[in-house]
Symmetry: C2
Subunit: 246 residues, 2 copies
């Protein structure tokens, strides 16, 4: 089996879902029209947990029809919004009871502390979105679908959420190494510059400047890592391999 060199769509989706606490919900109105509305959420493992008022349109919608999807965006530094990673998680919302309700309530409050001000009000309901279908978009040219089972079976990336400092260091102090990686490891022998635009447990995303234009590529570590604390040794190995020609 070939070693995976980049996150799967399911992993990318889990990572985006774990990266923030707000998104946009799509529900159905009484006439079956699609209704987009801003929501906050927490994660109970792979399932987004919502806390919605039945006085609000989306809360009323779910009481009538539990089909829903949520779009979550992970804004990047690039001013072009189309480059931002995002995911749609689609499925059916359930009202948890008993211990499941306790766990869902805690998951929501952990991500949205301000919800303590209203979560116990009579008009608020905790909903768990059971994800049946996933559409992941990782950036230009990186997109795929995943099933609910694939999405539930993986874990959020442990490296990407903590990689900003390491990426800034690579770009500030190791521009030559990044360019060497692009030339010898990523198939751009005419690269004149490269910047790191992302890091995860499998490798680095690179933005490469060539005489032919800008390209986006990727270099994989010798082996996946489990913590951002391993980023330094993994990138040193990449730089050494790049210098000796791959």
């Amino acid at each position: 089996m070939a070693t995976r060199d980049r996150p799967s769509a399911a992993e990318g989706a889990r990572t985006i879902a774990a990266s923030t606490n707000s998104g946009t919900l799509a529900t159905l109105t009484a006439t079956g029209d699609p209704w987009a509305s801003f929501v906050t959420y927490g994660m109970l493992d792979e399932a987004p947990v919502l806390c919605l008022s039945s006085l609000a349109e989306h809360g009323r919608n779910l009481q009538t029809d539990q089909r829903a999807s949520i779009s979550i965006v992970s804004p990047g530094d690039d001013p072009d919004p189309q480059s931002w990673a995002r995911v749609t998680l689609a499925g059916v919302a359930e009202r948890p009871v008993g211990d499941d309700l306790v766990a869902a309530r805690e998951a929501h409050l952990a991500a949205v502390p301000g919800a303590a001000n209203y979560i116990d009000f009579g008009d608020f309901t905790v909903w768990v979105l059971r994800v049946a279908r996933v559409r992941w978009y990782g950036g230009y040219g990186r997109m795929d679908v995943a099933t609910g089972e694939e999405y539930a079976a993986v874990r959020p990336d442990p490296v990407a959420p903590h990689s900003a400092t390491a990426i800034a260091h690579l770009n500030a102090d190791h521009a030559d190494d990044l360019c060497a990686m692009a030339r010898t490891l990523a198939g751009f022998p005419d690269a004149s510059a490269a910047t790191c635009t992302g890091a995860d447990r499998y490798g680095l995303d690179l933005r490469v400047t060539t005489p032919r234009g800008i390209a986006y590529t990727r270099v994989g570590y010798a082996a996946p890592i489990d913590s951002h604390r391993d980023l330094r040794s993994a990138t040193v190995e990449l730089a050494q391999r790049a210098r000796i020609g791959g």
Copy 2:
């Protein structure tokens, strides 16, 4: 007729829609399920203009059923996402033709310059969302609905998008004036501090600290203003009125 002292829901909605170039679209899948997806948009007067690929789920959805809504969020400085202003614009997407298509295409490109790279590809379609129904949320306790007609009849606030510098100045150098406004003009005689959290053509939003807790209120200028360049004189008048006791 009483002078309006704050933006209407329709004005608030127009202002939020004009403030950015990305949002989340809700459409219907072939099975009538609600599908939330990230989109970029431009504004053709009051109508959001989308440019969607028929290879993407939302593009295919609209070809089958043109009902759609878009949620647009205007993130605030407050880390609590529930305080952020947002709007849902719901209606029906149309494919413009002729001069309408030219105008819609230009409106989209003006807001999303990167779309020049794909807007003329065969799989992309320009859609104009005809807004029939509006749900506006201006922050905690400020929410209302508007009809499509009300929304189309107003203009985006000319002051709010350019008010950040003035607000920072008020908070840094005029804390006493803001507290006086809260005490004598906004009905919080026990205010111990106040910060400005927003400014528009009608007045200032204030966050007030009192012995009883935090409150959100509002003070209106003597008369509406048409430009952020009038903010200084309008707030000086407010401060003078606050000092002499309202």
